[in-house]
Amino acid sequence: MATIQERVEEQAGREPVDGEKHRSLRQDVWRQFKKHKGALVGLVLLGLIVFATIFGPIIYGVDPYEIDTSATNAPPSVDHPLGTDNLGRDVLARTLIGGRISLAVGFAAMLFGLFLGTGIGIVSGFFRKLDGPLMRITDLFLALPILPLLLVIIMLFRDSLARAFGEELGIFLLVVFIIGVTSWMQTARVVRGDVLGLKEEEFVLAANSIGTRKRKIITRHILPNTLSPVMVSAALGVAVAIITESALSFLGLGFPASFPTWGRLLFDGNDYLQLSPLRAIVPGVMISLTVMSVNYIGDGLRDALDPKLRSK
């Protein structure tokens, strides 16, 4: 099943032929990327969100875990810009701290999935014998009902991992691992298609004929040229991971209540939608904004990395 995506991306690695002035690929991509207004806005927005979640809690300085039963379900005020929850905890502080975990899960799971996907894609594209089995495994994973299995697995292993690594790290590792393990297939397919094309390119054949070792061919010649589809996958991977984590938390099977993530905050705030709507809306909007900016960036990257579009 060679998709158009694969076919396009097979070509993406080729050097631009008709460039008269010598421009580096990076400059080229950046020039095109800048044209994509949405991607640019997304980049700025994501930067802001990341900055806010990393430094926000320090700057804001309010303890997100502090219980104040005298000010429960409070509307926004000077003390609590976004109000408080049913235990009197500050919603803004919790949203900021919750973002750290959500983003960390998103990026970690994406990196893990990307690593797996790229690895499997390259191996299966490069080594003929492994291609069949690996692609069958990929198909198998694609046929797995992911969410049901995720629910079951989390229910099963949450507590033993929590005991081994501690409540927070244990669940973090589990969620990252599981999202990673179940999201590499698309990347693997795209990369494989790319590698299959690259293998027949003159520069690889040349490297092969002068006896370059396989590992070097892969790291020197193949890997850099698969970068563009990988980058697009990466961007989309972050979005998928963040949504999956919040979906799990929303079904009550992600992070525990004492450990706020955006998904968990949304789940907890869901019941209080009428009483203090900000509690659910703020994390919901944050998830949406993050995913949206990431998707826009992915979109911009795709356009920028497409040589046919770039030469326009």
């Binding site: 099943m1 998709t3 158009i4 995506q5 396009v8 207004k37 949405g38 198909d139 198998l140 694609l142 046929a143 797995l144 009902p145 992911i146 969410l147 049901p148 299995l149 629910l151 079951v152 697995i153 229910m155 099963l156 698309q186 979005a239 949504i243 919040s246 979906a247 929303f250 079904l251 949304l266 869901n270 939608l273 009428q274 709507p277 659910a280 919901g284 998830i287 949406s288 904004l289 995913v291 949206m292 998707n295 826009y296 979109d299 795709r302 046919k308 579009l309």
Partner: protein, 339 residues
């Protein structure tokens, strides 16, 4: 063509067997207990009796082989019997996969709920396609135009805002504040196609879940359509067609669109697991008695046979839709040969 379908179907069987083993192995490690919902005052001996009567204490391979036999021999026989009103072998006392919580055949319960899931999913799917393709085509044709920017923005929103968030907001706005639609799905309603009221009732209760789901479907699909159209619009054959003096409509709709649909159909199939996941959440939020809701309930009750069978059914549906997509792909793209 026929041979290709047969071969693909045959190939799906080992895939499904491996999947069933994976599902089974994962669930076998489950520490859950079907008696955990009973009052604490029920003594352990009685709990043990219940577990024994459910066959919980058998070793892993025994349980798997039993389940495989039930799933692939007894249940199909049962279906044949009930369709043709026959009685093959010991049809009276034939063992079936029994749910632990309802003590009823798991497949009967699934069969009861399958229509709801397919109905909501299907309508959402059709609406999704109806919205997505025009939006995707126009966005691509007028890349970076105002329409494209707005369209991109809207689809980005639809794609990025999780289903559970839109679902909750929809209930709050349309059921609670405005009171337009019921907040839960009356599962016993039988649509009488001759009565407008009955049909309208069905529309009313489906409108929110379907809108939420189709918004999500449409967003993803129109992204794909746009990307695929863009790819094709830059192909040489388009230039050739234009230079031949073909009318623009014909170029876009006959040549570009047809070629662009090929990858879109495949991507639709790859989206199917995601759509089922979305359905699980939608059913949970809108209280639709579909398969997703049953899954969540069964996980909560540690009803292992039910979870196994359901997860497996999801796998079957996914494999089936992949197959449909592959075949469609072949029909659309004459370059693909089946041999």
């Amino acid at each position: 063509m026929g041979r290709y379908i047969v071969r693909r179907t045959l190939f799906a069987i080992p895939t499904l067997i491996v999947i069933s083993l994976i599902i089974f192995a994962i669930l076998d490690l489950a520490p859950g207990d079907p008696t955990s919902q009973l009052p604490l005052t029920i003594p352990q001996e009685i709990r043990e009796q219940i577990r024994e009567s459910l066959g919980l204490n058998d070793p892993f391979m025994v349980k798997w082989v039993k389940w495989m036999q039930l799933m692939f021999i007894n249940e199909p026989l049962n279906i044949i019997d009930s369709i043709f009103n026959t009685c093959i072998g010991d049809c009276e006392s034939r063992a079936r996969i029994i749910s632990w919580s309802s003590r009823a055949p798991a497949l009967d319960i699934i069969w009861q709920r399958l229509p709801q899931t397919l109905w909501v999913l299907g309508v959402a799917f059709v609406f999704g396609i109806l919205i997505a393709i025009p939006v995707g085509v126009v966005s691509a044709y007028k890349q970076y135009s105002a329409f494209d920017n707005v369209g991109t923005f809207v689809t980005m929103v639809g794609y990025s805002v999780p289903v559970f968030f839109t679902g909750i907001v929809a209930i709050l706005v349309f059921s609670v504040w405005l009171g337009w639609f019921p907040s839960f799905y009356t599962t016993t309603h039988v649509v009488d196609w001759t009565s407008w009221d009955s049909v309208w009732f069905q529309i009313e209760q489906m409108i929110m879940p379907v809108t939420v789901l189709s918004l999500f479907n449409a967003a993803a699909l129109s992204r794909f359509t746009r990307a695929s159209m863009l790819d094709n619009l830059n192909e040489d054959y388009v230039r050739t067609a234009r230079s031949k003096g073909l009318r623009e409509n014909r170029v876009v709709f006959t040549h570009v669109m047809r070629n662009s649909m090929i990858p879109v159909v495949t991507l639709i199939a790859l989206q199917v697991p995601g759509i089922f996941a979305g359905a699980i959440i939608t059913e949970q939020i809108f209280r639709i008695n579909g398969l997703g809701q049953l899954l969540i309930i069964s996980i909560g009750q540690s009803d292992v046979p039910m979870v196994q069978t359901l997860t497996f059914m999801f796998a079957v549906l996914i494999v089936f839709f992949n197959l449909v997509a592959d075949v469609t792909y072949g029909v659309l793209d004459p370059r693909i040969r089946y041999d």
